[in-house]
């Protein structure tokens, strides 16, 4: 009798899993909201959402009142009161998306960092991350959700948090403003403002801990800091050749290859890290992409191999290089690099203009350069129908397009077709684009622009539904969006 009951329970559970994969309708019951295709929106200064001033609100991707009738069936039209429960922070600014793990990580301007359980639509159990020592210019959690890396620029420190061990350290790095974690969580890098160096974090083995416990004199010469100093668990190293002798000599090496490095992206095989040097866009002199071997900068002590070469491969990117994604173009993977470069406008002045550079990773040559929206391209992702979406901010309406005499569109959204290698859309001005979410499989992209959420189709990105922003905008300022039910973690604009 007991065996029969257990069999029935097991069968029921297995059929549920099977059905959830096949039919979204079944999955409706799995989430508190009852929605199977969900978009998460970070909203600031909201009213009427869970009676709070800021919120993480959900909207169903299927059920929006949207023009695309073939995919948007209004099952719950006007639903705007779904939200992440248990979240009580202020001013959410970014959502790191891990849809395949049913998790997200939300950073807020109040300095809090919370993991969101997409299954329960609530803050994950133990998901309030402690250990941040102040507001973070950038914060990322590594896959697996154990390690958090946060740039406390105000405090001049890189925070490294081990959620499993419930420990945290602050590593001295003045001006630290950006962090990078690769998709496998095996590499963690940090960058610093007004600085031409690349830094990497290493979790020390017990042997290294002991060896470095005597203070800075016992550390390798390229160590910027090791903490806690009496028995270090982490070191922050400058990426530098073995000839590096410490102190100000560090600059000598880095100047050759790095110029205000700002971001990084892994190569298709993960073996190489592309360092994006924005150059003039962020106060430097020349934009470029520099390749460094991932093996040298591995996070876990003992997994690294090799040493930094005295020479590196660097490719100049005249159009600017502050963001990048890998995308398929005509059957090959290409590196699309976005950035801004100064150019003469038609009024005789000089303005920053947005560009997208197509780089062939095999030859590392710039294949082509395309003019895109002006402004800093802080958001990029690929979507259905061979589309690449670029969201810019802080300068779209002040750049080359606006300073030319013609009436060029000067919005912050660019859509690029990676099949035809052509710009499909440069939006008209609606405000800064601060979030992008590809609704993969549904041929749509949701994006936060000027404080509202807008929707476009990937099949015809030049058309936006005039009522789309009204339909999804909660009463507040939307600053980021992610697709919670994507089938890939690459549906994420943070790294």
């Amino acid at each position: 009798m007991r065996k029969k009951k257990m069999f029935l329970l097991l069968a029921t559970a297995m059929s549920g899993v099977y059905c959830a994969q096949l039919c979204p309708e079944y999955a409706l019951a799995q989430n508190p909201s009852g929605e199977s295709e969900r978009v998460l929106i970070a909203v600031q200064n909201a009213t009427g959402i869970n009676s709070k001033t800021d919120a993480l609100t959900l909207v169903p991707a299927f059920s929006m009142q949207f023009v695309d009738a073939q995919t948007d069936t209004p099952s719950k039209s006007g639903t705007t009161n779904l939200y992440i429960s248990g979240w009580s922070s202020s001013m959410p600014v970014s959502i790191q998306n891990f849809p395949t793990e049913h998790m997200g990580a939300v950073y807020s301007e109040d300095g809090s960092f919370n993991l969101i359980n997409y299954s329960t639509e609530a803050v994950a159990s133990g998901g309030s991350v402690s250990g941040l020592t102040g507001p973070s210019s950038a914060v990322l959690i590594a896959p697996g959700f154990r390690y958090v890396f946060a740039a406390n620029q105000r405090g001049g420190a890189l925070n490294v948090i081990d959620r499993t061990a419930n420990t945290s350290v602050s590593l001295n790095l003045p001006g630290v403003n950006r962090v990078f974690v690769n998709a496998g969580g095996t590499v963690a890098l940090a960058f610093s403002q007004n600085n031409n160096s690349v830094y990497y974090v290493r979790k020390l083995s017990s042997g290294s801990q002991t060896a470095y416990s005597g203070g800075p004199s016992t550390w390798p010469t390229n160590a910027m800091d090791c903490e806690p100093q009496n028995l270090p668990t982490y070191c922050l190293f400058q990426f530098a050749p073995t000839t590096f002798s410490g102190g100000s000599d560090a600059i000598t090496y880095s100047n050759s290859y790095f110029d205000h490095p700002f971001k990084a992206i892994s190569s298709p095989d993960g073996g190489t890290i592309y360092i994006l040097n924005p150059g003039p866009e962020y106060g430097g002199t020349q934009a470029s992409v520099t390749e460094i071997p991932a093996a040298v900068v591995m996070f876990q002590d003992g997994q690294q191999s090799g040493t930094p070469s005295t020479t590196l491969t660097k490719t100049l990117i005249p159009g600017g290089a502050s963001n990048a994604v890998l995308a398929n173009s005509s059957g090959t993977t290409q590196l699309f690099v976005a950035g801004e470069a100064f150019a003469s406008n038609s009024r005789g002045g000089c303005s920053l203009g947005g560009n997208l550079s197509q780089v062939d990773p095999s030859s590392f040559a710039v294949v082509n350069q395309y003019a895109i929206s002006d402004g800093h391209p802080t958001r990029m992702l690929t979507a259905d129908d061979n589309t690449l979406w670029i969201g810019s901010r802080d300068g779209c309406r002040d750049g080359l397009r606006s300073n030319n005499t013609g009436s060029e569109p000067n919005g912050c959204l660019t859509v690029f077709n990676t099949s035809s290698n052509s710009v499909a859309l440069i939006d008209t001005w609606n405000g800064d684009v601060t979030g992008l979410a590809a609704i993969t499989g549904l041929h749509k992209v949701y994006y936060a622009e000027g404080g509202s959420v807008w929707i476009r189709t990937t099949t015809n990105p030049s058309t936006v539904n005039s009522g789309a922003s009204l339909a999804v905008t909660p009463a507040g300022t939307a600053v980021d969006v992610v697709y919670m039910d994507s089938n890939t973690d690459s549906d994420n604009t943070l790294n």
Binding site: Q44, N45, T47, S90, M91, V93, E109, P135, S137, N152, Q153, R154, G155, G156, A157, N172, L173, P174, G175, Q193, N194, N195, G215, P216, S217, W219, A223, M224, D225, G247, S248, P280, G283, E340, F342, C350, L352, H376, D394, G395, R397, D398, G399, N403, N430, G431, D432, E449, G450, G451, S452, W454, S469, L470, T473, A475, G476, T477, A478, V479
Partner: protein, 497 residues
């Protein structure tokens, strides 16, 4: 000392109430000026934070002055009321709750900052015979910079006084011609002292007319909060005109218009930021920077710094160089031990319009709005590329500018307010949603002396709401006579011609 009691209080209250009622009625009619606006198709956010925008104005140089309070969300005039004659300057306290003025008749007003008009408007009690060049309002204690006595008059909120009201006394002697003070809001953790910056020359407009001719070093006097005594007298550059603190209070920066430099004070050590290079706890070499020299822009002989704001999020100091038609963007970041970072002092000079008199920076470190007084223009500076991304005309001859950006908002929903003493039109710039050059104006009673936004406190943004902006003694005059080249007097500098 005489405690002046306003004879206008009851009249003011009536007037205030009438105007408040009118404002509320108007807003009820024109909803949603107070509440969230309906989202138009262009994506305007439906609800933005509430801030009060405070404007000080005066129709004439001798008559009664006015303050006006706008609700930032709808830019509606909510309160307008009269204050004393010939107002010169004002501050908000560190919470943005109360304002204090100094007036040309040696009086000082206080008034509440809220859109309901609740609270008492009245007069502070000033030290007999004082001539006040500025007010520092960090909180429950206020400081009046008394050039007549070469002292700082300390104001206390006594029992039985109205909220926001102070009685000034207990002069503490400092060097001659005190013009600015710096430090964190009163009661901040670890706060021990404030720094009073004096020009060390006679009170006048030498630092306006010929700052580079001055060779006398100014002085920063550290006043201990607990004892009201001077603990250090620190030499600074010539013609210091403004000082501000970093958001963590560890450094104080003094802008020396005469010597084209910034003196850096280590607030904790109560001395110049000076040291013999040493190795930090993490093994890195540390160099200190007692002074940062400002490079003039190409073709300019001087920089002439007059105003600055500190960007807490990025550790940048952004300086308006009045004489050099430029803005300096200076890295003043520290390491996690509180030492100057390796990039400390790294500066970038950005040419802007003629005679930049003021600026406001966004706390996220993205951009600065610079008002160019002689050009009647605004330059938007991208603080990351160090470039002017846009220049556009404004109204009048702008002297000050404030933004709504603070710790609880960001550049998406930021507004910028521009004040010019040659106009009664408060110019409003919508940063992001409607575009940088989309402006409109709100009219106040008389010409505008200054504008502040209530949420801008120094500990968060570095914007020194609680230090007045002084017309004269080196800071830009209200209406300088550029074209004729005539030299200014203090009276002319401070008058609305």
């Amino acid at each position: 000392m005489n405690r002046h009691v306003s004879h206008q209080t009851s009249k003011s209250a009536l007037c205030k109430n009438a105007r408040v009622l009118a404002g509320v009625a108007l807003c009820m009619f024109l909803l949603p000026c107070l509440q969230g606006q309906t989202v138009p198709a262009n994506g305007w956010p439906s609800m933005r934070p509430t801030r009060e925008v405070v404007v000080l104005s005066a129709p004439t140089s001798t008559g009664v002055g006015y303050f006006s309070i706008f609700d930032q969300a709808g830019d509606s005039l909510m309160v307008e009321d009269s204050i004393g004659n010939n107002p010169l300057l004002f501050t908000l306290d560190s919470t943005g709750s109360y304002a204090n003025t100094t007036n040309g008749d040696s009086s000082s007003n206080y008034f509440p900052v809220n859109v309901t008009g609740s609270g008492v408007i009245g007069y502070n009690t000033m030290v007999q015979g004082s001539t006040i060049s500025g007010i520092f309002s960090p909180g429950s204690v206020e400081y009046a910079l008394d050039v007549a006595h070469s002292a700082v008059d300390i104001g206390a909120a006594s029992q039985g006084y109205n909220p926001g009201e102070f009685s000034f006394g207990t002069p503490v002697s400092v060097a001659s011609t005190p013009v600015s003070m710096a430090g964190l809001p009163y009661g901040s953790a670890g706060l021990q002292r404030y720094f009073v910056v004096s020009q060390n020359i006679s009170y006048g407009v030498t630092c306006n007319n010929s700052p580079s001719s001055v060779t006398t070093a100014g002085e920063a006097d550290a006043i201990e909060i607990a004892t009201n005594t001077i603990s250090a007298r620190i030499p600074v550059g010539a013609c210091p005109v403004f000082a501000l603190s970093s958001a963590d209070g560890k450094r104080v920066f003094v802008l020396n218009r005469g010597s084209d430099s910034i003196t850096v004070i280590n607030a904790a050590s109560d001395s110049l930021d000076s040291c013999t290079p040493f190795v930090s706890a993490s093994g890195q070499m540390v160099t200190c920077h007692p002074s940062i020299e400002l490079a003039p822009a190409a073709g300019q002989a001087h920089a002439g710094p007059v105003y600055a704001e500190y960007v807490a999020s990025t550790g940048l100091l952004v300086v308006a160089n009045y004489d050099g038609n430029s803005v300096s963007i200076i890295d003043v970041s520290l390491d996690m031990f509180g030492n100057d970072s390796p990039s400390f002092g790294t500066g970038f000079t950005v040419p802007v319009g003629r005679h930049p008199a003021g600026l406001t920076v966004f706390p996220d470190g993205t951009r600065a709005y610079v008002v160019n007084q002689q050009d009647s223009s605004i330059s938007i500076v991208d603080l990351r590329s160090h470039a002017v991304v846009k220049t556009f005309a404004t109204i009048g001859m702008p002297r000050s500018v404030a933004s709504t950006a603070d710790s609880s908002t960001n550049s998406i929903s930021t507004k910028v307010y521009v004040a010019s003493p040659s106009t009664s039109n408060l110019e409003i710039i919508y940063n992001s949603v409607e575009g940088d050059n989309s402006t409109e104006g709100n009219y106040v009673n008389g010409r505008i002396l200054d504008v502040r936004v209530s949420s801008q406190v120094g500990s968060v943004t570095g914007n020194m709401n609680y230090m007045s902006r002084l017309p004269g003694a080196g800071q830009p005059c209200n209406l300088p006579n550029f074209s004729s080249g005539t030299t200014a007097s203090i009276a002319a500098c401070q008058s609305l011609q």
